[in-house]
Amino acid sequence: MTVVQTLLVFVGIPAGIVLLIFLGTYGSSLVRQPNRYRPGKPWTFEPSWYVPHPDAVVHDTGQRQIEAGSSSTTAVGGASGEW
């Protein structure tokens, strides 16, 4: 065998097998879960604020509880946590 053939057999084939196993293990999750959060990873997304659909939140008087930018209040209590 020439040097090239030896390299192909003893390096190329094992590397190919390792690559196949890697793709079989992580391939599908690489494609399907690009946004998956893992603790400790940086969070690069823009801040976003989710509020319930206005039709779902109606006062007894029929008024919406949140009017954009028109209200103000102060925080009273709550809790916090770290992970």
Binding site: P39, W49, S71
Partner: protein, 141 residues
């Protein structure tokens, strides 16, 4: 379905309605957004309180930032502020909502959320927190 959940790109301006293509670039998939929407809408409708969820960076001191965000809401609001990058979460209640939700209930919800977040389940943690808070607040009086 996911169009029902309202997302504001800039937290400074609280707006209604989907913000263009912003939802596609967001951190959550359509299924996750639907779960979030359902939990938000159901817990708000059930309790009469306005729940809202903020996901993003909280400038230190994080608690003060969360409370500043809360000041844009109403007395009957409950804010769940989650910062995955800093690994902190804050629940903020106001003059109206704190009578229904004592700090003890909020701490319990925060603990349950923490457990899910530590496993990397952001939406699961938020949904669990919303459900627990809605349960302890009880129905509309």
């Amino acid at each position: 379905m996911s169009g029902d959940v309202t997302k504001t790109a800039k937290p400074a301006e609280l707006q209604f309605g989907p913000q263009g293509s912003a939802q596609q670039d967001g951190p959550f998939t359509a299924t996750q957004l639907a779960r979030l929407d359902e939990a938000l809408t159901l817990s708000s409708r059930e309790t009469g309180l306005t729940f809202s969820v903020y996901v993003g960076e909280l400038k230190p001191p994080a608690r003060a930032h969360a409370e500043a965000l809360f000041e844009k809401l109403t007395d009957d609001s409950v804010l769940l502020a989650v910062s995955p990058g800093q690994r902190v979460s804050h629940i903020v209640t106001g003059p109206g909502s704190s009578t229904r939700l004592p700090n003890r209930s909020c701490a319990l919800a925060a603990l349950a959320m923490r457990a899910a977040f530590a496993n990397g389940d952001l939406v699961g943690g938020i949904v669990t927190g919303l459900r627990m808070l809605a349960d302890s607040a009880g129905g509309t009086r």
